[in-house]
């Protein structure tokens, strides 16, 4: 079974600085999707960034970028120029890209990292 681990329960960063959130996962599959979600105090889940495992190029969305290391099964999120609005819980998630079947469409989340932005 696939598992996702976020080893940093809490992180803090000064406004305008850069912070990196860690995520590792365990899978025997070769093709899958990885996601970072943000959950602000409103508790609405918001997609931050997505990575397809078959793509070697790291995904980037404005100030958010990932460092995807497939062999190491690592998927970290870098937030540049941190802003007060970035304060939230951040979740790493995994989903198989295999055809629909037993467990193939399951979406598994890590335990989350609470990010605090210091003004």
């Amino acid at each position: 079974a696939q598992t996702v681990t976020q080893s940093q329960p809490e992180m803090s960063v000064q406004e305008a600085e850069t912070v990196t959130l860690s995520c590792t996962y365990d899978t025997s599959e070769s093709d899958y999707y990885l996601f970072w979600y943000k959950q602000p105090p409103s508790r609405q889940m918001i997609l931050v960034i997505r990575q397809e495992a078959y793509k070697q190029q790291n995904a980037t969305e404005n100030r958010f970028s990932v460092n995807f290391q497939k062999a190491a099964k690592s998927f970290s999120l870098k937030i540049s120029d941190s802003q007060l609005g970035d304060a939230a819980m951040y979740f790493c998630a995994y989903r198989s890209a295999e055809p629909p079947g037993q467990g193939a469409q399951k979406l598994v989340f890590g335990q989350g990292t609470r990010l605090t932005i210091n003004p």
């Binding site: 979740f91 989903r95 890209a97 979406l107 989340f109 989350g112």
Partner: protein, 116 residues
């Protein structure tokens, strides 16, 4: 465009009472559907997921059950609530795409359940 509706937003129920939380999706067909529970300040625990009508996979043995009576409707139920069932419940959907079109999950607004 696709939308997901989850209700109610807040619910306070006595121990031993039944539960029914409903989630519906609009603007797509044949979605994957998911129920998650989130304890305060914690991660998302996958409870159930469904790849089609009547097809339910349970991740964690517990006091809850799920049903999918229609393609875009997903219901979370309990016959008798326990105090430990309190939490924040999230419904989500994703497409059944594979390499092309496989997408992220889209979440409802969540239900805060308090069992007293």
């Amino acid at each position: 465009s696709q939308t997901i509706h989850q209700w109610p937003a807040t619910l306070v129920q006595p121990v031993g009472s039944p539960l029914s939380l409903e989630c519906t999706v609009e603007g797509t067909s044949n979605p994957n559907l998911y129920w998650y529970r989130q304890a305060a300040g914690r991660g998302l625990q996958l409870l159930f997921y469904s790849v089609g009508i009547g097809q339910i996979s349970s991740e964690v043995p517990q006091n809850l059950s799920a049903s999918r009576p229609q393609d875009r409707q997903f219901i979370l139920s309990s016959k008798k609530l326990l105090l430990s069932d309190s939490g924040f419940y999230l419904c989500a959907w994703s497409s059944r795409g594979m390499k092309v079109g496989g997408t992220e999950a889209f979440f409802g607004q969540g239900t805060r359940l308090t069992v007293v």
